[in-house]
């Protein structure tokens, strides 16, 4: 665990020592503010469902920019040799990178608490769906960040890593549309891979263990594969 702290500190230094983190956070909050103002004035309804969907889309679009450098940059700069020849297990290297990016994404989500405050001040929001909405976002972000790390571990080109992450996330997002074109039992398998299929119930207030399990198991699988990729050198 001590090694995780050492590596996490270094990852946070890398994240906040580069303009990428600040830029992504600024774009995220700017677009969110714009959408919130627009939907609030248009619908005059005190809920955040539109905002949660906006955050879901922004997560898929922006997280690749945060994860692309994780391993690709280390590989390109040869610093991965320093990490992998130090007496530290690959799992700690992967976890530190995951926690650094995931922490930044969660911090960006916290910026959305302002809107919760606005709704509370001027309306009577239903707190249940808001809590489950944030839970859905946290679960979704864990999966997308883990996929991003896996893709970054496969290449030393950051743009390729970002494109692979975006492509994989979009394919998972639209898996339910593809499922309708497939014969049984393949259709139900692909349907269950759908990102939006597991996100939508949670964001509207219906929390199922199966949905949380989808995100958590997907994230763990991606982190496991990233660790294996590093261990194989």
């Amino acid at each position: 665990m001590r090694m995780l702290g050492v590596l996490l500190r270094k990852e946070l230094l890398a994240t906040f020592g580069s303009p990428i983190g600040y830029t992504v956070a600024a774009v995220f909050l700017l677009v969110l503010g714009y959408t919130f103002s627009l939907t609030l004035f248009a619908t005059k309804v005190a809920n955040l469902i539109y905002i949660f969907h906006q955050m879901y889309v922004l997560t898929i679009l922006l997280v690749p920019a945060l994860t692309m450098r994780a391993f690709a940059e280390e590989r390109r700069n040869d610093t991965l040799e320093l990490l992998l020849t130090a007496p530290v297990g690959e799992i700690w290297i992967v976890l530190a990178k995951f926690l650094a990016v995931y922490g930044l994404v969660l911090a960006m989500y916290c910026g959305g608490f302002v809107y919760v405050g606005v709704l509370e001040a001027y309306g009577a929001p239903d707190w249940g769906p808001m809590a489950s909405g944030y839970l859905a976002l946290a679960c979704n972000a864990a999966l997308i960040v883990a996929i991003g790390l896996l893709m970054s571990s496969l290449t030393e080109n950051q743009v390729v890593a970002a494109a692979l992450t975006l492509g994989t996330s979009l394919m998972l997002w639209f898996a339910d549309s593809v499922a309708y074109l497939l014969p049984p039992p393949l259709d139900s398998v692909v349907l269950n891979l759908s990102l939006i299929g597991h996100f939508r119930p949670m964001v509207t207030g219906s929390v199922f263990v199966s949905d949380i399990g989808y995100f958590v198991s997907g994230a763990l699988l991606a982190l496991f594969l990233t660790t294996r990729r590093l261990a194989e050198r």
């Binding site: 890398a14 700069n77 020849t85």
Partner: protein, 215 residues
């Protein structure tokens, strides 16, 4: 296969030079020893630890400077060396003490608080060596340690490596015959992934002639 028939034992405290042309397998051999690559067959032992079965214990014995002398550009020199010390399991007061020791030993005082991305090639090489020495490893592995350095820096690094002999075992690779001749106690010649010969420098009056006879 990048490496075949390499049967080599390096003695404690000696400076061993691995000599060979580009593409001969020197970096592959060094990456195998450092634990960055895993062997498909054969056996590697570092200070009594199997490099594959007891990988973490073996890596604790090693200080490694890759050919590119990589550093984290967003860290300052002292910060980088401190990070590497902690990564190698050091903690408490031992860390700043060891960092001060290597900064002094490698004459890095003037750049200790500068970002590593601003360093000249010579200071960058010294910083890379400092991170490899900070935990006082039994084996120091240097891949092409004088590549890209100017003559003055080469002399300084050479003197530094010679100064480490006895206290540390040093394995250095190079494709420059003169460099190995001036620095190493023993030399091995690697050609096309095969270790063609090992000799003590004291028994090798003309390294160039010996190299050409094997090549």
């Amino acid at each position: 296969m990048a490496l075949a028939a390499v049967d080599l034992e390096i003695n404690r405290g000696e400076v061993f030079g691995l000599l060979g042309p580009n593409g001969s397998g020197k970096t592959t051999f060094i990456r195998l020893l450092s634990g960055y690559l895993l062997p498909t067959s054969g056996r590697l032992e570092i200070c009594g630890c199997d490099a594959v079965e007891q990988s973490l214990q073996a890596r604790r014995q090693i200080g490694y400077v890759p050919e590119a002398a990589p550093v984290y550009g967003y860290m300052r020199v002292r910060e980088f060396i401190t990070f590497m010390a902690r990564l190698r399991g050091m903690n408490g007061q031992a860390v700043p003490d060891a960092v001060d020791r290597v900064i002094a030993a490698l004459a890095l005082e003037s750049v200790a608080n500068k970002p590593t991305r601003t360093l000249s090639r010579g200071f960058r090489q010294r910083t890379a060596i400092a991170q490899a020495l900070v935990h006082d490893p039994a084996l120091l592995i240097l891949d092409e340690p004088v590549n890209g350095l100017d003559p003055r820096q080469i002399i300084e690094i050479r003197a530094l490596i010679r100064g480490l002999a006895g206290r540390h075992t040093v394995l250095m690779s190079s494709h420059v015959l003169g460099e190995v001749a001036r620095t190493a106690d023993r030399v091995g010649i690697l050609l096309d992934g095969h270790l063609r010969g090992v000799r003590a420098m004291a028994d090798t009056p003309d390294l160039e002639e010996w190299f050409l006879s094997l090549a």
